[in-house]
Subunit: 167 residues, 2 copies
């Protein structure tokens, strides 16, 4: 969003003022940093996926289905895995189905369950989109592999504390 | 969004499948983690700010103005500091002005520049909202202070590589 880089880190500056005026700024600085990096990644990934007619949310749904054993999952399970509200899953599957990338099928034994199933064009689109996002490293640059893994580990603690999973 | 925690970390599971089917998953896992943690924080912060009639974006704008030396900043500078598009700054200031929390004033010497200035009710609202968000630690839980600072440092490398700032 910046037309040119600021000559200082705006989050460090804000943290200094926060410490002087309000109190400890450690948490505020981390939260603001996550919000900003999410914007950077979302913008980079959406840019790379646009040419493939996908958003990150729709791409993640395709990946999940391609990775599933049968190439299909109950929509409820998709919501759990993607940590999305059922309404969001419905919207995502609607759009993917309209583009011919997934199709809804009845569950073979449970009439109340609808499956979303990946199609052959869906598999092709997922592969092409994967090349696009990995080609730009999902917009995540500036870290060594070890630092990237450390970042994931720290964020896992936050996700666990928020109740995403137990282990 | 999960009604109950999953019995496994869904990002670890996805990373294992990614490694088996596509290739190295270090970056994918970090990016997915950031996206998810941003959702957790956004939801927690918006929840805490709702009672104060604010979103995180509007709250950040109030903080910036309260921290400014004169209690006012050119809207262009607000956009630079908050790393927002000018249209977003306009929308945020419109809404804050409608609520009486800021007012637009002409720049004393530069006619082409409009300042946004914090009002007394704006200062009070910022103080109350700050108590609300710090009271829930902005939704960021599960980390020691040292780990929180390490997270900020890793994310600063990403922001710098994306061109947010030089130093």
């Amino acid at each position: 969003m910046s037309p040119r880089p600021l000559p200082f880190d705006p989050i460090v500056r804000a943290a200094e003022l926060w410490t002087a005026r309000i109190g400890p700024s450690t948490t505020m600085a981390a939260v603001t940093s996550i919000m900003r990096v999410q914007q950077i990644l979302q913008s980079a990934v959406d840019g790379a996926l646009k040419a493939h007619g996908l958003t990150f949310a729709r791409y993640e749904a395709l990946v999940l289905l391609v990775f599933s054993r049968r190439g299909s999952l109950p929509m409820r399970v998709m919501g759990e895995r993607l940590q999305l509200h059922p309404t969001s899953v419905t919207n995502i599957v609607d759009r993917l189905e309209a583009d011919g990338l997934v199709k809804r099928t009845p569950h073979p034994t449970d009439r109340r369950t609808t499956l979303a199933e990946i199609t052959d064009p869906g598999r092709d689109r997922m592969a092409a989109a994967t090349e696009a996002v990995t080609g730009i490293e999902f917009g995540l640059r500036g870290l060594t592999d070890r630092q990237t893994a450390a970042l994931t580990d720290l964020l896992a603690k936050v996700r666990k504390a928020a109740g995403d999973f137990t282990d």
